[in-house]
């Protein structure tokens, strides 16, 4: 299980969603799939296509830039960050 931290601008789109969740997943893709199960519809806000995170969103695992295939060790932190290039 990993702690997932979401930006305010994202959770605002899904009223009642906490900024921090604990979710299962062995990779970033797995964690985000778990996130979609908890927050239906959030996948479309994070992904530009089925396998591609949106251009102006960044994922970090324990502070390191990550891709969908990046492993997520137990008790790690997954941050979803809005890139300064967006907005």
């Amino acid at each position: 299980m990993a702690q997932v931290r979401l930006p305010t601008a994202l959770v605002t789109l899904f009223p009642g969603t906490p900024r921090r969740l604990v979710l299962p997943g062995e990779t970033v893709a797995g964690v985000l799939a778990s996130l979609e199960e908890q927050v239906p519809g959030i996948h479309d806000r994070l992904f530009a296509s089925r396998l591609e995170i949106r251009e102006h969103i960044r994922i970090f695992v324990d502070g390191e830039a990550a891709g969908l295939a990046t492993p997520v060790p137990p008790r790690s932190t997954v941050d979803v960050v809005l890139a300064v290039s967006g907005g």
Binding site: D44, L51, G87
Partner: protein, 357 residues
Amino acid sequence: MPRVLLMVGTKKGAFLLESDETRRDWSIRGPFCEGFEIRDVTYDPSDGAIYAAATSSWFGHAVFRSPDLGETWTHSSEGLAYGDDRPKLTRVWNVTPAHGAVFAGVEPAGLFRSDDAGATWHHIEGLTNHPSREGWFPGNGGLILHTVVPHPTDPDRMWVGASSVGVFETTDGGVNWTPRNKGVRQDYNPGEPLEVGSCVHKFALAAGSNQTLYQQNHCGVYRSDDGGAHWTEITGSLPSEFGFVLGVHPRDPQTAWVLPLTAPEKGRFTPDAKAAVWRTRNGGGSWERLSDGLPQQNAWLSVLREAMGVDTLERPGVYFGAQSGQVFASADEGESWREIASYLPAIASVDVAVIAG
């Protein structure tokens, strides 16, 4: 007493302005759909919902819906995509409810339909797969499907408009489409005008008609009396053939409003730095300049295609919004104007609904 609801789409969310039938004092609420660029906001009288065509550089595109005049909002883009093996859908430009469905015009130009109030969408393939598709080239704003005009009574019939492509009509619910651009100039193309390649900016059905259409094009203003099969130019005395917005009277098919702008190479501003709306009362036979209350000096206003609305009150009000953030309102068909909002983010759309109080 009826409420007049002005829905304004801006670069930084949607705003709702509200007044009563006097249209004198206005309250402002917003921004809604924060963080999203809103290209169109519209009201569905069948269920009282507001829809917003939204795009965010962080979160992509979606259609927002409020069932309660802005108190709460949901959004969805489920199905609002061409598929992983096709070009990415980049922006929603128009949302139009009609005959129990909701339609979305998008970029790259295409049409989507929802039959569940925007929760899910499916692609109207017939338009995207039109035989002329290879000849569709983007205009300055992109390759965008920006206008959807439903037939008033026939749910299988509608017209759509795409920049630099033109007007298309379907009579079978979107399976087949026919270009409707004969008679419209394409001065930017050498040779004779092409079947597609007309740069329609905005068009609308005249009141009480299912055949008479008005069009503001890149190359003039036009009228058709046969459902778009043929267009006749009615630019006449307008100070510029170029402009974006077009408004039609809710009951008089002979009355329409446009807002001419200087040519693209001159900046797309209000001519001579003086804001004016022009009105025809005779179907385009002649035009009159209306500017009482509009700025008449140092006013280089830019008004985008979706940014004019006309209400349905006995003496219709006319409204437009500028990219510089002002909203102007007339309660007397354009005879006089007031600035009712001054500091909104850049405005892309203005629509208006009269709601029972």
